[in-house]
């Protein structure tokens, strides 16, 4: 079985984000880009299934040449091949899903993994939309996955618990932290990844439906007061919470 993993290339979560001069994007200076953290769980799950049942794992990303670095990381972890769907403009999530759906169809992958969201725009749109475009089943925010032949049981995280979901292949899964422990790329893996070619393709053109008009800093929070250095400050804290903040 062919398994596709869709990956994105995002600023490291430790990065300081400031708004760029165009007022619509971040200032990239000093920002390190990495494989989206949730995509590591997606890759690991695909590799686990390949290790157990055989098959082939293809990593796919939509974006500029910079995304090749992230695709190499997927290859180093153990993906068999990688495809870059080249797009130099900023595509919205629906447009990314359309490009991915086209490629997944061409690859004839019946099992597809995503991270539950990219930590740049935090949308959690692409996985579900890709599944709908392909008419595949889809379970999001998955923390446990069992595949027996065509039959699938997944657990997804919800407020205050988990939903047990029954479904079947073909299927899109979006991975949540906790699904597995992502492996580290081995030195051998890294060396092999360097030698592999990343196939480049051009997706069908798309006009954004989600238009970013402005990016801004969140309102600055005024630092408050340090009330004291031990428990003698507690009565004052309680008074402020009651009288000023009115929260207790």
């Amino acid at each position: 079985m062919k398994i596709a993993v869709c990956v994105s290339h995002v600023p490291d979560t430790a990065a300081k984000i400031s708004v760029g001069s165009d007022g619509k994007s971040i200032d990239p200076s000093g920002v390190t880009y990495v494989l989206n953290p949730y995509d590591e769980f997606a890759i690991e799950e695909a590799l686990k299934i390949k290790d157990a049942q055989g098959g082939e794992v293809v990593a796919i990303s939509v974006g500029t040449d910079a995304n090749k670095e992230t695709l190499r990381k997927a290859l180093a972890m153990g993906a068999d091949s990688a495809v870059l769907l080249k797009e130099d403009k900023d595509r919205d999530s629906i447009g990314i899903a359309k490009a991915l759906a086209e490629e997944i169809k061409a690859q004839d992958a019946k099992l597809v993994f995503f991270g539950k969201q990219s930590v740049d725009f935090d949308n959690s749109i692409t996985g579900q939309v890709t599944a709908e475009l392909l008419d595949y089943n889809c379970v999001t925010v998955v923390v446990d996955l069992q595949i027996n032949g065509e039959k699938v049981t997944a657990e997804r995280e919800i407020e205050g618990g988990r939903e047990i979901v029954e479904t079947s292949l073909p299927l899109v899964i979006t991975a949540q932290k906790g699904l597995n422990e992502p492996r580290y790329a081995s030195l051998k893996g890294i060396m092999q990844a360097k030698k592999k070619t990343i196939e480049e393709k051009t997706p069908s053109p798309y006009e954004n439906m989600i238009e970013l008009v402005a990016m801004k800093r969140p309102p600055a929070k005024q630092p408050g007061k340090i009330l004291g250095e031990d428990s003698s400050a507690v009565p004052e804290l309680v008074r402020l919470l009651r009288e000023e903040a009115k929260v207790i």
Binding site: A14, D122, E211, L241
Partner: protein, 322 residues
């Protein structure tokens, strides 16, 4: 500009969620400003007190009913919402940005081939609708416009105020659904020991590495209990295995906006601050007075958590007893 607004009402155990009532209020305000119709849609089996939704401003509710639809089915729910939107020419759709809303709304957008803005914290309808939403876990905000005829917005819980209900009642039209598409279906919900979830809680008490060990979270749990709060955790303690991932606040955890956030023994890594900085009031208790958490805290005690927290529990108990 808009023809009909549709608000999706999410039920759990047959009860409409608070976050959906917040969406109802937004839907009602929009309909008044735009001079268009508004209605609400709920999918489920038995749903109690639907009429009460009228008190938040929508007086027409459609209930798509089938005993197999009590629990969520992405396939069935998607088809039913899409069909309803098409048959009723709704063009502005509002969902709460909950686990269900996040799963369902993008699927609906895919089928209607329309734009969607997730996790909105403000909506402005001067001219076009402009949605404001956090990105990079709250390190920045963006304004977006949707260039499609149908527009979908999911609203972050706890941000829009549902207000106090009036005594108005809504009329409920029940439509029986036959043969829903159950190819993907929730068969069971496993609750995590009846605890409040950080994503929905009004008050959160979070612990970090300063607590020194998993056993010391008893104190955090006790403080959470006297405050009626959810327990949260920093990434460091989740990665150390002291607390479950569901409690993690911050980038790669949950972004939260409670009324009160109490951070205990948390120094305030950039990823953590991003995830909780829009809380209305922040209290920090940390030994190190130079910790970044104090830069965004409204009230801080730069002291030993093991001494301060028990005293805080005692004082709040006293207050509650009065």
């Amino acid at each position: 500009m808009a023809n009909k607004i549709l608000v999706y009402l999410e039920q759990r155990n047959g009860i409409i969620k608070k976050s959906s009532l917040e969406a109802v209020k937004v839907g009602k305000d929009f309909s008044e400003k735009l001079g268009c119709e508004v209605e609400a849609l709920v999918i489920g089996s038995e749903v109690s007190d639907l009429g009460k939704v009228g008190g938040y401003g929508i007086n027409k509710i459609i209930h798509l009913k089938n005993s197999d639809l009590e629990l969520y089915s992405p396939t069935a729910y998607t088809k039913l919402v899409v069909q309803h939107v098409q048959e009723n020419s709704a063009d502005v759709l509002l969902f709460a940005n909950t686990a269900l809303g996040k799963d369902l709304a993008p699927r609906v957008a895919a089928n209607l081939d329309c734009g969607i803005a997730m996790d909105c914290v403000a909506l402005d309808i001067e001219g076009d609708i402009t949605a404001t939403r956090p990105v990079y876990a709250g390190k920045a905000l963006i304004d977006v416009k949707l260039n499609s005829e149908i527009k979908i917005f999911t609203l972050r819980p706890n941000v829009f105020n549902a207000g106090e209900p009036t005594g108005d009642s809504a009329s409920v039209e029940v439509k029986e659904v036959s043969n829903p598409d159950l190819s993907t279906k929730v068969v069971e919900i496993k609750k995590s020991e009846g605890k409040l979830d950080v994503a929905e809680a009004d008050i959160i008490v979070s612990g970090g590495r300063g607590l020194k060990g998993t056993e010391n979270f008893k104190m955090i749990e006790e403080l959470a209990e006297v405050l009626g709060a959810a327990v949260g955790a920093s990434r460091a303690v989740v990665d150390a295995g002291w607390r479950p991932h569901g409690e993690q606040v911050g980038q790669t955890g949950k972004t939260v906006t409670p009324t009160l956030y109490v951070a205990v023994g948390i120094s305030g890594a950039i990823q953590h601050l991003a995830g909780m900085r829009s809380s209305k009031y922040i209290v920090a208790i940390n030994k190190d007075k130079d910790a970044p958490i104090f830069s965004i805290a409204d009230y801080g005690i730069a002291g030993d958590a093991f001494e301060v927290v028990p005293k805080l529990i005692e004082e709040i108990k006293k207050l509650k007893a009065e």
